[in-house]
Subunit: 228 residues, 2 copies
């Protein structure tokens, strides 16, 4: 039921599967150039302002992408899970990273070095078009996101975030994300987030068990989100 709401990626977190973009034979041909990397929960993969040296494929775990704003407050604008690609934007635009990426869980990455990635897309128009198509699509997602930030209130944004996070974590018994990260995703203070969660619990829209959030009444939740 939730998935039907999110069948069109626009309402979901962006990110796509590079292994569907890169044909198997090409992927196989670069196997020996791929560098595996392990990072623990909480560690930072790359920092805003540093120089990209390749593209990462997240093989295991979950990460957040965020930009640092006023008084160091994190603005989380992107969550990525298994098989997502990251780091390609700033590599392609030849700029330093415009944001940071950190692990929400223990993670395994495959690093495709800069030169390998560039020659790969240069020599394969199919990959090129996939990239272009996916990036074009992502624009719609970003527009939607900035609209939500500009026009929806904390209660509505929180309800939306719960739907998104539940889909993102994709477990059967709800999801767990620190209140700090959650509030930085919603774009509010920790305290305001908690108050809304408390209200939603009282209204029997969600359950909270040891700070884990479980959707209890998705129809009500959609109504609270007030989206579209």
């Amino acid at each position: 039921m939730i998935n039907s709401l999110f069948s069109h990626k626009r309402y979901s977190f962006i990110g796509f599967d590079i292994y569907k973009i890169i044909p198997d034979d090409i992927l196989f041909s670069i196997t020996e150039n791929i560098i595996p990397m392990n990072l623990k929960k909480g560690q930072v993969l790359f920092y805003e302002g540093t120089i990209p040296n390749g593209v990462y494929i997240l093989k295991k775990g979950k990460i957040k992408k965020y930009a640092t704003g006023l008084r160091g407050k994190e603005h989380i604008f992107y969550l990525l899970k298994e098989n997502g690609i990251l780091g390609h934007h700033n590599l392609l635009s030849k700029e330093v990273y415009s944001h940071s990426a950190a692990c929400l869980t223990d993670c395994l990455f495959h690093l495709i070095p800069k030169e390998i990635f560039l020659s790969m897309i240069e020599n394969n128009q199919e990959i090129f078009f996939s990239l272009l198509k996916n990036m074009s699509h992502d624009f719609g997602v970003f527009i939607s996101d900035s609209k939500i930030m500009a026009q929806y209130n904390v209660r509505e944004r929180t309800a939306l975030s719960i739907m998104k996070l539940d889909e993102f974590f994709d477990e059967n018994d709800g999801f767990k994300l620190s209140r700090k990260d959650h509030s930085n995703l919603v774009g509010t203070s920790v305290e305001s987030l908690i108050r809304v969660l408390h209200d939603l619990k009282n209204e029997e829209v969600i359950d909270i068990k040891k700070s884990k959030i479980i959707i209890r009444n998705i129809k009500k939740l959609i109504r609270v989100a007030n989206f579209e």
Copy 2:
């Protein structure tokens, strides 16, 4: 002085010059396929949800791109001026328009039909890479925008918008934009915008002449914006 602040596109409105991306010879070869279109101030070029049939190049005038949100309120996320391209995102992602575009002034467009545009980029890797590079760059701009919406207050966002608009309109004696459009760009109500403008006038940061805004003290304005 302002331009130095905006020398890096990230802090400015996005959009780039298609005529720099498409080499002259290629552009010349499709001249006969380009369809010129005139629209009056206030007219809509395309509506959210409709099917793209080509790419537009804005030859003359200024346009706003916006998505419609709660209670029909416009969220303006993009302004485009002469020589900007629009409509390529949804054409490339093969989706309906994720937003609308309307004229802020009388405009002249060049419409490049869908097939012509697609074959053009298919047969020219240089254009392809330019597109990819520019779209990658635009991500940084969008991230910055959504961060501003999420973390900055109305006063700060208004100050930022004045800097951006002054650069965008690029006239020597300030700029004029309806309070409604301006507030939809800042992400606030018309009344709140007006109150901030009033304050900034009293603080001698800006001048307002018949609702036209002129920057009077750029250093103070930057300080008010509180950006970076």
